[in-house]
Structure formats: C-alpha cells, structure tokens
C-alpha cells in the first residue's frame, strides 16, 4: 500500500510536469504552467521524505536549506542579460547531482533499489559519464559566456586525436564499472576521465555557437537524470529526464537549422575564415560605407511609417534593451508601427533576445520570428540593426563559398533603408566582411549601442 501511494504520487508529479511544459506553449498560460511544475516537484519531494530507507533528516534538511538559499539568491539577482550563464550553471549542477546520486547508489548496492544488478551498473556508468561531461562542459560554457575563458574557439593540434583516445578510455572504463560494480574507484576514475572529455569537447567551441552548446548540455542534464532513474528504477526520474532530454534535443536541432550547420559541424568542425573566392574587407567596404549621425538617423525615423528593429548579442552586451524599447515606444506614440525581427540564434542561447525585450516591457506579440518578418521586409521603411552581424549578412544567400552559405538570415538588405549600430566594421563570429554595410540603402552609426539609441531618442524629441 505504501509503495502504491509513493508511486502514485510520482505519477501525479510526472503528469504535473507535462502539464507544466504544456503551459509554456503560450505566454498567457506560461506562469501557471511553471507553478504546476513546481507543485509537482513539491509533491515528489514530500512523499520521498517519507521513504522507509531514511534514518536521519539533519543532512537532508541542511542540504535543502543551503541549496534553496543559493538557488533563490541566484534567481533573484541574476541580470536578464546573463541568463545564458545561469542556464549553463544549472545544467552543470543537474549533471553533478546525477554523478553523486549514482555513485551513492553503487555503494549502497541492491539495498537501496530494486533494480537488477546489471541495470544498476550500466545505468550508474551512464549517469557518471553523462553527468561528468555535462558538469564540466557546462562549467566551460559558463566560463566562456562570463568571459573568464576566451570566447574564441580554443584549438590545439591533435585535439581530435586526444578526444578519440579519451572517448575510448571512457567506454572501456564504463565496461569496467559494469563488470566490477564492487570496485568504486573505477567509477570515480570514469567520472574523472569523462570530466576531462567534457572540458575538451566544449573548449574548441566559439561564442556564437553557444546557443547550440547550451541547448545540448540542457539535453544531457536531462539524460543524466533519466540514467539516474534507471539506477534507482524510479519512473518519475526517467519520465522527467526524458522530457528534459527531448526538450534539449529539439532546441539543439532548431539552433543548428538556424545556422544551416549539422550538429557534428558545430561540435567538431572549425568555422574558419572564408575559403576561395571570399572578398577581403577592403574589397567589400572600400569607400562605399556611409556613416551617419544620430540626428540624421532621427530624421529617417521621423519620416518612417514602418520600422523593424533587429537585435543581436551586441545589444545584450551594451545593455541597450531598455533604450531600444523606449525608442520603439516613442516612435509608436508618433504613429509609426514598430516590430522586432528575432533571429533564432541571435544572442547566446535560444530565446535570449525575446527575454531581454520582455524585460524592457516590449509586448510579446511585437516580437516576430525570422520567417514572419522576412515576408514583408521589403515594405519596411527603416530597419535598425543593433549588435547583430552574421545573422543579417546577405552573403549567406549570395556566396556559396562563404562559411555561412545557406544560413537563413533576416533579409534586412531588402528594406528601404537599413541603419546599423555597430562599434566598428570588425567582422562577426564567422570572420567575414558583411556587404550589407556597403549597400546603397544602408547607413552605419558607429558607437556604443546604448549611447547611440539614447542619442537618437534625444534628437527625435528635439525635432
């Protein structure tokens, strides 16, 4: 009877998680969805606390208080622009928790779980392996996002070779754990080698590919939880882990598609400078780039009836989301229609730009995705590109030899006038010049994103 109540509660918790995710299909129902998920978690934790294996509660309560305090402080103080770091960190913690739970289960052996020994050991090896790759991979991603480690791809010779050797070693150790479950040191050795592998796998991945990496590690953290579920023969862990795993895989796929690259190419391929036929910056820009002042741009906005704003990572860096939203509000108060064109890989994680604009009180239905905005972009009077580069580079359409060839872009070059706010003509992550800047209908506004937008607002108010 007791087992029945516990398992039934776990089932209810799983259903609540699914309804919670379902709530996220619309911004209107999303807050409620998140609360449903939290209720499911509360239920699962409360019934677990009645487990008959538990002999003392001090450390459980202490751990939950410490973890809860850290989590709450992180959640309340994190800047919206730093959300990718937060998610990377949380992915990592999920992975690490799986390592320790599986490690403990291996030591307890069959006294803690009803799992058959083979399932227990295979799942333990999988938890340790995936958990360690997730934890260390996420820490490296966190370091890169935070600027503690170079955002550039860190490459050294023989990298692929070393990774292959490590991968084989990890597989060998996993088999070792399965065959000798009583040798705990083998498990920790596996965790150690998988940790090195996790670090080396993420180090060579550059900043603009972070959306893919963060999404993939999100998926791994789910799979690690699912593996831990197999260790404990616990369905709520298996179900939840699979949901999160599926979510991460879908996001990874969307991100890869938005860059027209395969996952293998993002993870192992090097995005070098353009090959044969690529033009140098001088050839592209030479004498053709027109620079404008904030006052001139204000005049353009003054006459425009339809404006589209295309934000990129640069907007997040200069914290320009609030001024951008004020500019949009000012234009709307003058009868101009303002929309936002959001590229799926703009920023450092899926949906990064949307959250920033939401923070600045921009209503979500003004945020249009790439395909929607591209349909009518030729009727737009002024496009304002702020802090985006590769995602608006027309070379993706025109130059098949370019490293971004075939990547879907926001076709801002088709608008009547394009204004680009950018510090300099330096290339984006792809390392190629952007002919957009040299087009007849484009104007460059050189300077810090936030300052330039504020200057445009001031000029608009004066006119």
């Amino acid at each position: 009877m007791y087992e029945f109540i516990i398992n039934f509660s776990y089932l209810v918790a799983s259903v609540l998680f699914i309804f919670g995710l379902k709530g996220l299909t619309h911004p209107r129902t999303a807050v409620r969805g998140n609360l449903l998920g939290a209720c499911g978690m509360l239920l699962a934790v409360v019934v677990t606390l009645t487990d008959r294996h538990i002999v003392s509660y001090e450390y459980i309560i202490l751990g939950m208080v410490v973890g809860g305090a850290i989590g709450a402080v992180l959640a309340m103080r994190i800047e919206m622009t730093s959300m990718p770091e937060m998610v990377a960190l949380l992915n990592g913690f999920g992975g690490a928790a799986s390592i320790f739970v599986a490690g403990a289960a291996l030591i307890e052996g069959s006294s803690l779980t009803d799992s058959p020994i083979l399932q227990l050991t295979i799942a333990t090896a999988a938890s340790g392996l995936i958990g360690a790759v997730t934890f260390w991979g996420s820490l490296v991603a966190f370091g890169k996002l935070k600027g503690l480690i170079s955002e550039n791809a860190i490459l050294f010779s023989g990298q692929q070779g070393i990774n292959s050797v490590l991968a084989i070693l990890v597989l060998g150790l996993s088999i070792g754990v399965v065959l000798n479950p009583e040798s705990f040191s083998l498990y920790w050795l596996l965790v150690g080698v998988a940790s090195v592998l996790g670090i080396l796998l993420v180090l060579p991945i550059g900043g603009a590919d972070m959306p893919v990496v963060v999404a993939l590690l999100n998926s791994y953290s789910g799979l690690a939880a699912a593996a831990t579920g197999f260790v404990l023969s616990n369905n709520v862990l298996i179900i939840t882990g699979s949901l999160v795993g599926a979510s991460g895989i879908i996001l990874t796929h969307i991100m890869c598609k938005a860059m027209n690259r395969s996952l293998t190419n993002v993870l192992f391929g090097v995005m070098g400078p353009s090959g044969e036929g690529g033009q140098t910056a001088d050839e592209v820009y030479g004498g053709k780039v027109k620079s404008a002042s904030p006052e001139e741009v204000a005049l353009l906005f003054d006459a425009a009836r339809r404006v589209v704003i295309v934000p990129g990572y640069g907007m997040a860096v200069s914290q320009a989301q609030h001024p951008v939203a004020s500019l949009a509000a000012l234009l709307e108060s003058r009868g101009t229609t303002v929309e936002y064109g959001i590229h799926p890989v703009a920023g450092r994680m899926p949906g990064h730009m949307n959250v920033l604009m939401a923070e600045a009180d921009v209503p979500y239905d003004a945020l249009k995705d790439m395909d929607e905005i591209n349909q009518t972009i030729d009727q737009v009077d002024v496009v304002l590109v702020i802090g985006a580069n590769d995602v608006v580079n027309p070379l993706a359409r025109t130059d098949p030899s370019s490293p971004i060839a075939g990547m879907p872009i926001i076709d801002v070059d088709k608008a009547k006038i394009v204004v680009v706010i950018k510090r300099s003509l330096s290339p984006g992550f792809a390392g190629i010049p952007n002919p957009l800047f040299a087009l007849d209908n484009s104007l460059m506004l050189f300077g810090d994103g936030k300052k330039m937008v504020l200057d445009i607002i001031a000029a608009l108010k004066d006119s």
């Binding site: 911004p27 998920g37 979510s247 959001i342």
Partner: protein, 92 residues
C-alpha cells in the same frame, strides 16, 4: 530483465510525449523553457534525499552534495523562470 524493459518502455514513451509537447512551444519562450526544464531536471533531488538519509557516512556525504546541487536547480530554476515569465506581457 522484465524490470528493465518496463523502465525502458516508460523512457521511450516519455521521449515521445516530450517531443509532442515541446515542438509546440514558440521561440519567444525558449529561454524560460530551458530554465524551466532545468528546474524539473532537479528531480534528481528525489534520489539524493534517499541517499542522504541512509546509514553509511559515504553515501550521506554524496547524498548531501547532490541534495544541495539539485535544490539549487529546483529553487533557482523555478524562481528564475517565474521571474522571466512574469515579464512577458500582451500588447495593451
């Protein structure tokens, strides 16, 4: 073996449910989706709690560490998701 097959069935079916539900989530909510899924993947807490409460000191230490980490995920994940979602508003 039968036990494993049962668990594996649950695993496969849950992945299908995940795909069905998550493909319908709009790009605007992808960041809250990630932080929210972080929160629910903190379900490892359930396993961590049992390990911590057992008699062996080694598993208590391992369990304690995982309780801390998983609780950060659960509390941090749900709170930050709630904070983000509260910002999404409709045009008035």
């Amino acid at each position: 073996m039968e036990m494993f097959l049962m668990s594996f069935t649950v695993f496969v079916l849950a992945i299908f449910v995940g795909f069905e539900v998550i493909t319908k989530i709009p790009p605007t909510l992808h960041t809250p989706l990630m932080s929210g899924s972080n929160a629910i993947s903190g379900i490892t807490l359930v396993g961590a709690i049992v390990s911590t409460g057992t008699e062996l000191w080694v598993t208590t230490v391992l369990g304690f560490l995982s309780v801390v980490l998983a609780t950060i995920n659960v509390i941090g994940g749900f709170m930050v998701t709630n904070r983000m979602l509260a910002m999404f508003k409709k045009k008035t």
